[in-house]
Amino acid sequence: MDKHIHTPMTEKKARELRAGDYVYITGTIYTARDAAHKRMQETLAAGERLPIDVRDAIIYYMGPSPAREGRPIGSAGPTTASRMDKYAPKLLSLGLRGMIGKGKRSSEVLEAICANGAVYFAAVGGAGALLSKSIVASELVAYEDLGTEAIRRLEVVDFPVIVVADTEGNNLYETAIKEYASQTTV
């Protein structure tokens, strides 16, 4: 089912989404990947404030290629989400409402998604040029020294994603594959 959502992403909006929904996101989202997550974890461990407010926010696991002059961003597709699995449950407990990436998540993350009322979205991996067209502005927020891995605030318009894991515990990667599997033994 096609749905349009605007940020901030409240728990109510998250709970209305189901695995398999095709969602167009409009509003503000943040980028963070491996190194930024490690820094955020260290920040929290030191008892300090995070550089972004994660409550009702969406984090896009993405490190862009450099922008050409006059453009907001370069190629901007998702990176593999499982590398952030170690850090995601803590952020979800702080109110993080959405994550955009690609690939499988750990059982700990899937449980935290249900427990906290959040959503894991997939964007199409390897479609960075196409996805960049839905990003209208990009601003560096924190950790500039990390280069492509810095935290950026993005303004997106109808950014296309698919719900993989929802608040009810459904997981599209598992159900969709079963539908087309004829090779059941490995």
Partner: protein, 280 residues
């Protein structure tokens, strides 16, 4: 003896890094168009058509096909009648990568040390494989490798008793575990035989073969065909969201091995499978 100036190598590698990241090679383009025509899942077809649109935008607006513009893997087949002048070959290759990634607006994804993890900021060094071959030409292949798929690659040190069925099972296991992480539809490069490092290198080089081409040995060709069919029966599909096209091709390379061993390496690549070859 033929002289090649290393500056020529730098210039070509710079251009090849850029070309590989903005334009899909002809063989991969044909494989992706074929995938659209045979995918049965509606969502799978929708994703494949988005990937077609992505390729058009990349070439037209000069935006890299994928933001992960890879670590540059460079194969050099150096004819033994070639004499290189003008500096060190390794430096010339890395200078080409530096210029390509900087001037080509490509992402700098390389860290100087695997544990200290400080970005080198120019995507160097490349991973360079040298081979001395017959003749007086230098063949360069640039294959920028993204790590979504690289991370899902595997090596299996099987026993001779595991045989061909054990090999097939290992390859299917690697692909199934890779699933959506490796940006399917993928290309599966396989090395069988040799030693631990030789079979990994064969698997990598297999990815640079013309997509969909087959091994010359009849039983290896038969394995490539059978495995492609079985992989596509896993149901993973485009983007891992279900479908009948999980892989575009399976390329297998073999080499003599030890009486006690049966190494199998599976190097998985995404649907971009960048590779550009030039002969100097």
């Amino acid at each position: 003896m033929r002289t090649i100036y290393v500056g020529e190598i730098t210039k070509n590698i710079k251009e090849m890094c850029i070309e590989a990241n903005y334009f899909l090679s002809q063989d991969m383009d044909a494989a992706m168009k074929h995938a659209v025509s045979i995918e049965k899942a509606p969502l799978g077809r929708q994703i494949l058509s988005q990937l077609q649109e992505n390729l058009q935008i990349a070439g037209k607006d000069m935006i890299p096909i994928c933001q992960d513009t890879g670590m540059a893997v460079v194969f050099l087949e150096i004819g033994q009648e070639v004499h290189l002048e003008g500096g060190l070959l390794e430096d010339a290759v890395n200078e080409g990568v530096r210029q390509g990634y900087t001037e080509g607006y490509l992402r700098k994804s390389v860290v100087k040390d695997p544990l200290e993890r400080e970005n080198t900021k120019d995507n160097t060094p490349a991973v360079i494989h040298y081979e001395i071959v017959k003749g007086d030409t230098l063949t360069i292949t640039v294959a920028p490798k993204g790590f979504g798929s690289e991370n899902m690659s595997r090596i299996f040190m099987l026993k001779p008793a595991d045989g061909i069925e054990g090999v097939k099972q290992a390859i299917l296991t690697a692909v199934k575990d890779a699933g959506p992480n490796a940006c399917p539809p993928m290309v599966v490069g396989v090395g069988i035989g040799g030693t631990f490092e030789k079979c990994a290198l064969m698997a990598k080089k297999a990815l640079t073969r013309k997509t969909g081409s087959h091994a010359e040995t009849p039983y290896v060709k038969a394995m490539e065909e059978e495995l492609l069919q079985k992989i596509n029966g896993l149901g993973i599909g485009p983007g891992g969201l279900g479908g009948t096209v999980t892989a575009l091709a399976v390329h297998i390379e073999t080499y003599p091995t030890h009486i006690a061993g049966l190494p199998v390496a599976v190097n998985i690549c995404c649907h971009v499978n960048r590779h550009v070859t030039r002969v100097l």
